[in-house]
């Protein structure tokens, strides 16, 4: 790791000010990706500003049909939260599949969403549950937030404070792990919201997380595994690597979607 300066931000204003006064600063969440990258010397921020202790980024609450989660909430906290488990069990379950227990104890929801790794899990839930990403500069609807792999609507000095997920009538997450890294190779989140079904895929899309509207339409007419099982995905829109070709990933989407629908009940 190259030399860097570490600072703990005490408030949102403090964090933004620290970033602005740094030469090439970066906000630090749980650090499970950023620190790993810095160790490889593939990133060299002059300053890292730890935002995880800022009061606005804490807490889990259920209000007005939404589950609102502070951005600094760790994956372990999400996975173990009774409020989340009773409001959106699929979200708690998803959190319990991220990384491994030790990683989950450090990694934060805000960090994952800010990074928007195309193989991350939370983006699938955020997009499917019509989440609102609340930041220091306002709000982003999930639909507008994920703009490409590792790309989001966030500005450099914008901090995610909270994420509000719509409580679905039912939802489920079906994860297919990359056998080596344990990231998602192809995972599907299905949800039935008041305004209809949502199907999102992470780990496979060329542009990161995406919705499968054709499946959503099919589920609207018939919420059953069979409704999605035969809907083909174009391999040209899929990622490929040594762990799975585009064709294989395209094949997995309907398989996993059907399982998720079955799991959601």
């Amino acid at each position: 790791m190259y030399a860097t300066n570490y600072a703990k931000a005490t408030s949102l204003e403090d964090a933004v000010a620290k970033l602005k006064s740094s030469e090439d600063g970066k906000f630090l969440g749980g650090g499970q990706t950023l620190l790993a990258t810095m160790k490889q010397r593939l990133a060299a921020p002059t300053d890292i500003i730890d935002v995880t202790k800022i009061p606005e980024l804490q807490g889990i609450s259920v209000e007005g049909g939404k589950v609102v989660i502070g951005a600094a909430t760790t994956h372990s906290q999400v996975a173990a939260s009774k409020e989340i488990a009773s409001a959106i069990p699929a979200l708690a379950e998803l959190a319990g599949t991220i990384g491994d227990p030790a990683v989950r104890n450090m990694g934060t929801m805000g960090g994952v969403l800010a990074n928007n790794d195309p193989a991350a899990d939370y983006p699938a839930a955020a997009l499917a549950l019509d989440a609102t990403i609340m930041t220091t500069r306002g709000e982003h609807a999930a639909a507008d937030y994920f703009t490409g792999i590792f790309e989001t609507a966030l500005e450099e000095d914008e901090i995610i404070t909270k994420i509000a997920y719509t409580i679905p009538k039912k939802a489920a997450y079906e994860k297919f792990r990359n056998p080596a890294s344990r990231y998602s190779l192809c995972s599907v989140f299905v949800a039935l919201l008041d305004d209809g079904p949502r199907v999102t895929v992470t780990g496979s899309g060329n542009d990161g997380v995406f919705r499968v509207t054709e499946m959503e339409e099919a589920l609207k007419a018939n919420w059953s595994p069979d409704a999605v099982r035969s809907i083909a995905i174009d391999p040209a829109t899929m990622l490929a690597d040594i762990h799975g070709s585009a064709e294989y990933r395209a094949h997995l989407v309907p398989v996993l979607a059907a399982r998720a629908v079955a799991k959601a009940g």
């Binding site: 810095m38 010397r41 593939l42 928007n116 193989a119 792999i149 590792f150 890294s181 990622l239």
Partner: protein
């Protein structure tokens, strides 16, 4: 890895060709491009700070152009060195075809990445390369979509730019002035341009090159050091392929 793509650009071929040769337009289209500098007729260097997720690596790129046939096709070879991150190298063939008022740009790139990026992050190589290429064309199309490509250089901000803004109708003297003598001595170059026999094979005296550049610049109907753009385009493909 193989990387290919086809993009429709809402502008006539000559405009696209021209734009692809305009360093400022290209610099704007290449995300993170901090510097584009011409070494001679067919070589340029660029500095690109590539950023993907948490990874941020600065690549120094060198690109050569081979067999250009204006305004239809050219081949690029090049290399980007990213220090501890590794390197990227490869070649790309770019073909422009007319399709009504639009231009179809097709490219086939063959690239290799090496070092840490290859070892640690093969999972995202393809995607990232595609993404960068897509970004490049999106920005390019946006710039050309209005049909006023010549307006693009005005957007260039001067602050971080080591290369002086050069409009498509470049000032020859200015172009020549940016040749760095120390780099001109690198090797023997052979450049065959679109039916015009302009071989440069003498041992690269600065003035020889300078003259050749001037000669080339005046020969092009659209004027300007067109190769810059091509070279920059190669740089983006090659360099960006290396990103995770």
């Amino acid at each position: 890895m193989e990387l290919s793509g086809e993009h429709r650009i809402p502008a006539p071929r000559s405009v696209v060709w021209e734009a692809l040769h305009d360093p400022e337009i290209l610099k704007d289209c290449i995300k993170g491009c901090q510097r584009l500098e011409k070494l001679n007729d067919h070589q340029m260097e660029a500095t690109v700070q590539a950023k993907v997720g948490p990874v941020k690596a600065t690549f120094e790129a060198n690109v050569d152009i081979v067999d250009p046939v204006a305004p239809e096709r050219y081949t690029l070879t090049g290399e980007g060195k990213g220090g501890v991150a590794g390197f990227a190298k490869g070649s790309a063939e770019v073909i422009l075809t007319e399709d009504g008022d639009d231009t179809i740009l097709t490219y086939n790139a063959n690239a290799k990445i090496g070092g840490k990026l290859a070892q640690l992050g093969s999972r995202l190589v393809d995607t990232t390369a595609k993404k960068y290429a897509a970004d490049f064309f999106a920005t390019l199309s946006e710039k050309l979509g209005g049909g006023t490509p010549t307006a693009a250089p005005a957007e260039a901000s001067g602050a971080a730019t080591t290369a002086a803004p050069v409009a498509p109708a470049a000032d020859d003297a200015e172009v020549a002035g940016r040749i760095e003598p120390s780099l001109v001595e690198e090797g023997a170059y052979e450049l065959e341009l679109a039916g015009e026999e302009t071989a440069i094979d003498s041992p690269h005296m600065e003035d020889t090159i300078e003259k050749a550049i001037e000669a080339e610049a005046t020969k092009r109907a659209w004027g300007g050091p067109w190769f810059w753009g091509i070279l920059a385009f190669a740089a983006v493909i090659l360099v960006l392929i290396a990103l995770q």
